[in-house]
Symmetry: C4
């Protein structure tokens, strides 16, 4: 990978591989939150249905958690599409981002069980804000003076990716603030976030028009 | 990866990597369903054998779950064999597919414990139908006006892959419908499904005759 | 990957990726067998040491399980070093192999807890025999009439890899048979197996002298 | 991967893939140490906050464990940056290293629960020393007579990477020794270790100036 990378530097292939692995495990761990209900001997189909029906907050938070991890993965994917090589600082920024990714399943589980309390909503918002900050830090570090991207990368692309992360962080911020006054509204803000990432933007048009990065 | 991809677009390498990771974790999590039996002090070899013998429904549903994940993985593999690049919509369709993949171990565990009840059979069929729909949606999206595949890709290949997914969904549909009247027949339908994927088809002949996609 | 693969066929890159993922998860799951001891309030350092000391059979079976998975991974690695492309049958043989790989952590956990009983030793040997059979089946299928390997692959290499798998299976067989008469001897046979894979062979000399397969 | 590898030998791509998978799972498993608190019916937000506050030693050890795995991953990454091919001995050294990586989450969990006792601090230091030894062994084996690296690799690079691992092991050694007299000081030494890896060194300057290894 990265064999066109004549300028030297570590490849980004293993960063992507580690990230993909962490995301894959985190996404799959979310489902460990719901367990097959333990029913007493002689339980009927109706008992099972009742027990399963009680799982819906867990199912909801699992789907929400998956979508959030999905948006973070897509954000990471778009960044590495443009990053050509890595150095030690970039590796650590990336590890900080992944640390937050591994922490999210716990936050999601907490939300699924105690979603109407303040602390879980605060914690979730704070975790997403930190994750977003790392993503933003990575991008700023890589593009600043075109340190780890192509020298010819247009400023418009740099700005477009940056404002996308900022938009996400604004929503997290709103959710974080709302958590203190109305946990339910906070949940709504968090749920709305992935929608942002469904909408295509200037970045999509740019990435479709340019060949991808070799190590991504 | 994807370095021949002169037409631009995101690489498919990381989609494959994330999917392979999710499948690997989901396949391995299935085995967490059976635990080493907890026996009282002084238990004999015969007690252990009896405890292990009681695990057979779990073992059966584990093998079945593994085979179903295997067929979905193979279906995904064949698709990406032809897909040359990705965009945001394709990423999200793929995430939807993976969401269902992470949900399947829970459904399988439910089947292993309560396989003779209606709801687990319904849930399993429904999950497979949704997974199949995402797989189909991905393929239609990618091949429609040859959006993400090679312009020269033959219509016969597009149709062959599509009808293979449809055949699988027909079986899931049968299982889903049977779940309401006879859960045991439903299980039989689900068990028969992987057999479909053992049989080679026109797609196999085509893929053996054409060089694989670079990013897959 | 596999872009020199002018003869067509599916790439082997994703087979390797799925296998690496399954092995990585299975290897790491082994460690879930030992839990941090739960001690009563006011427990001293000596209580902890005593509790940890009781974990040694689990630690031993974890190390043994890791080494066995390691040998299977190395065997798989050497095979794909020579395999140039895949078809549906090869994918399924590989999935059968991986099914056994995901089953091994359970067998190892069983051995760690009930290693002196017959059934765990029998089960472990049987699982390894089935895993070895799939590995052998894969290799025979791929090399038969040079179906999925290079036409010019020397018969000596085909035979060398085959006899290495056979040697491993012979040891599993011995362990399997001994399980019925003397479980402790059976454990010794299983423990000896990885040693076989430490010793370099003709295959090592050949693989060091030839460029690796592009998709591996 | 490794297609410029005219000198033969196994590719390093799958070693990296297995390692990335093991690291990804181990990093994510760390978070399984803290569970959503189980509260009685009618518990208030204050009860939850109190329960969460009691989790801080677990959170701390989780972050510390993640950072340690991060430093080991970075060390592994830098090594494979220079390694051009693999043989059987290298595969086994690497598996030994990964064995210790999978063992670390247990050590970290033990530290999180019984961090003021001697044994967990000793065990953690010992595990890191063994992991470091494998990393060092790998590097010595690969660079000795330039066995698996490029013949032209400068001695300065070999020494720089070696002294970096040695520096880490010195800190582990200190933590290991301190564990016997003052567990709390031992924890401080362990916590300081990742800081070492934040600081760029001669290796960073070298790796930024040279194209990466193709199989890494």
């Amino acid at each position: 990978m990265g064999r066109h990378d004549d300028a030297g530097g570590l490849t980004t292939g293993r960063i992507a591989a580690l990230a993909d692995g962490v995301f894959a495990v985190a996404m799959t761990l979310l489902v460990l939150e719901f367990h097959v209900p333990a029913l007493p001997e002689g339980a009927t189909s109706a008992h099972l249905d009742a027990a399963l029906a009680r799982l819906w907050p867990q199912v909801l938070s699992y789907v929400a958690g998956f979508l959030v991890l999905g948006t973070l993965w897509i954000g990471h994917h778009y960044q590495l599409h443009y990053v050509r090589r890595a150095d030690r600082t970039f590796l650590w920024l990336n590890l900080g981002f992944l640390l937050m990714v591994t922490f999210l399943p716990f936050c999601v589980a907490l939300l699924g069980t105690f979603g109407t309390f303040t602390t879980p909503c605060v914690l979730y918002g704070a975790s997403l804000l930190v994750a977003g900050s790392f993503l933003m830090g990575q991008w700023s570090y890589a593009t600043n003076r075109r340190r780890l991207v192509e020298a010819a990368l247009e400023e418009a692309v740099v700005r477009a990716l940056r404002s996308r992360i900022q938009a996400g962080m604004l929503v997290y911020c709103a959710g974080f603030a709302l958590a203190f006054v109305a946990p339910r509204l906070s949940l709504a803000a968090y749920a709305a976030m992935p929608l942002l990432y469904f909408v295509p933007s200037r970045i999509d048009r740019h990435s479709m028009a340019h060949p991808p990065q070799s190590g991504g």
